[in-house]
Amino acid sequence: MKIEVKNVSKKFKSNYVVENANCVFESGKIYGLYGRNGSGKSVFLKMLVSFYNPTSGEVLFDGVNYQNTSKYPKNVGVLIEHPSFFGDLSGFKNLKILARIQNIINDKDIELALKIVNLLDEKNKKYKEYSLGMRQKLGIAQAIMENPDVIILDEPFNGIERVSVEKITNYLKEERDKGKLIIVSSHIKDDLKKMCDEFLYFDAGKVSIRSDLDEI
């Protein structure tokens, strides 16, 4: 799996949110997107999975440009921005509804995903009764439950306690070692430094590739 970003820019009205980004993401690595809030990370991630079309440039997902088509890249699990589910349903039921679309996993797989994010004990609680951290965990479980080849997580550790952060980080490293492509964004350096192999630094829409975050 390979994602190529070629001269990609995104402009809203007259402001460039991402400007002339060039990079390549490959399987078997964890990429960390680091930058302040509003530096363009989420917009960049949305362009990767074709939720947004670049104003200029192109994103090739295994050589395919999904812009101007009705299709989306396959086998991708995402958590972008805040998670959103049906408030009156339990966490488990919410995941089950989503799992029914592709119908490739069963209840045990859903429970496994909930276990990875430390949410198995609260699986029958209604989503509207979840705390911020629990909602975030459910969002991550949703992204990983179907065992996708590419995992994209935008600020995944918001509100999550350290024990669960460690557990999820270890899971992502294991998946990386199995050959998956993982992209994680955060405005907290330490979270990224613990697991990422390469870094992209976002500063007011300008994207630069870094091998180490300490120099920033």
Binding site: V49, K74, V76, I80, L98, N103
Partner: protein, 239 residues
């Protein structure tokens, strides 16, 4: 890949359902509480069906239902990648919306029957039952088709240009008044056609009704297909 429908009922909570029911009751009540020259169940029932304001409320209930049904963008992220194709996602939504409209329309009819019954003083007399029920059935079919068509077009526009909500509300209401008056004229015509049929024994009037309904269906289908093809050509952005 085998797709299964997401249970659309999950999109609605008790509050949503109550709001829709109240709108329908208000629509029916406008006609039911209006001054009458005669108290008859069928007369009341017919008055509600053909009352422009009652119909406007029915359309409003349908439109509000779509708003309740449509997912916010963060939830949409969970869905579209799993479908892999925006058209598949849109088709699934349209199927669900048709199911929802069936429930809304049945609720509307039940509430209409209840109000008509209350103000009928148990007068159920009808002069030409065969003619009346035939025209009623065709009328209901056409009205339901119109409801589905408006809803589908509205959904497609909403998916494509989400900020056009208020403009489209106005469009629907204006359009509705035109169509509603057309329905009324048609009912009068149908009575005349069926009276002629009873006198002459010719079946052409029934065929005429069927043809009218078929034309409606074909026009609505074509309209929805054209708009669907145009709007869902590419997926656009999920903002």
């Amino acid at each position: 890949m085998k797709f299964k429908n997401i249970a659309y009922k999950e999109h609605f909570n008790n509050k949503n359902v109550i709001i829709v029911i109240i709108i329908i009751i208000m629509g029916v009540a406008i006609s039911a509480f209006s001054p009458k020259t005669m108290f008859n169940f069928w007369n009341n029932f017919d008055n509600v069906l053909t009352n422009s304001y009652s119909n406007a409320f029915l359309f409003l209930a349908t439109i509000i239902n779509i708003r309740f049904y449509l997912n916010n963008n963060s939830y949409k992220y969970n869905l579209v990648l799993r479908y892999g194709d925006y058209r598949e996602y849109a088709k699934k939504n349209m199927r669900d919306l048709i199911n929802i409209t069936v429930y809304v329309y049945i609720s509307y009819l039940i509430i209409n029957v209840a109000f008509s019954l209350v103000f009928s003083y148990l007068n159920f007399s009808i002069s030409n039952p065969l003619i009346y029920f035939l025209h009623l059935i065709f009328f209901l079919i056409r009205q339901f088709l119109f409801l589905i068509a408006i809803q589908t077009i509205y959904y497609l526009i909403l998916e494509s240009y989400s900020n056009s909500f208020s403009i489209f509300i106005l469009l629907v209401i204006i359009l509705h008044f035109f169509v509603s008056s057309y329905f009324n004229i048609k009912i009068g015509n149908v009575y005349l056609i069926f009276s002629a049929y009873l006198q002459t024994g010719m079946y052409s009037s029934i065929l005429e009704e069927i043809i009218y309904s078929m034309i409606y269906l074909i026009i609505f289908l074509c309209l929805c297909l054209i708009i669907g093809k145009f709007l869902l050509r590419k997926k656009g952005e999920i903002r």
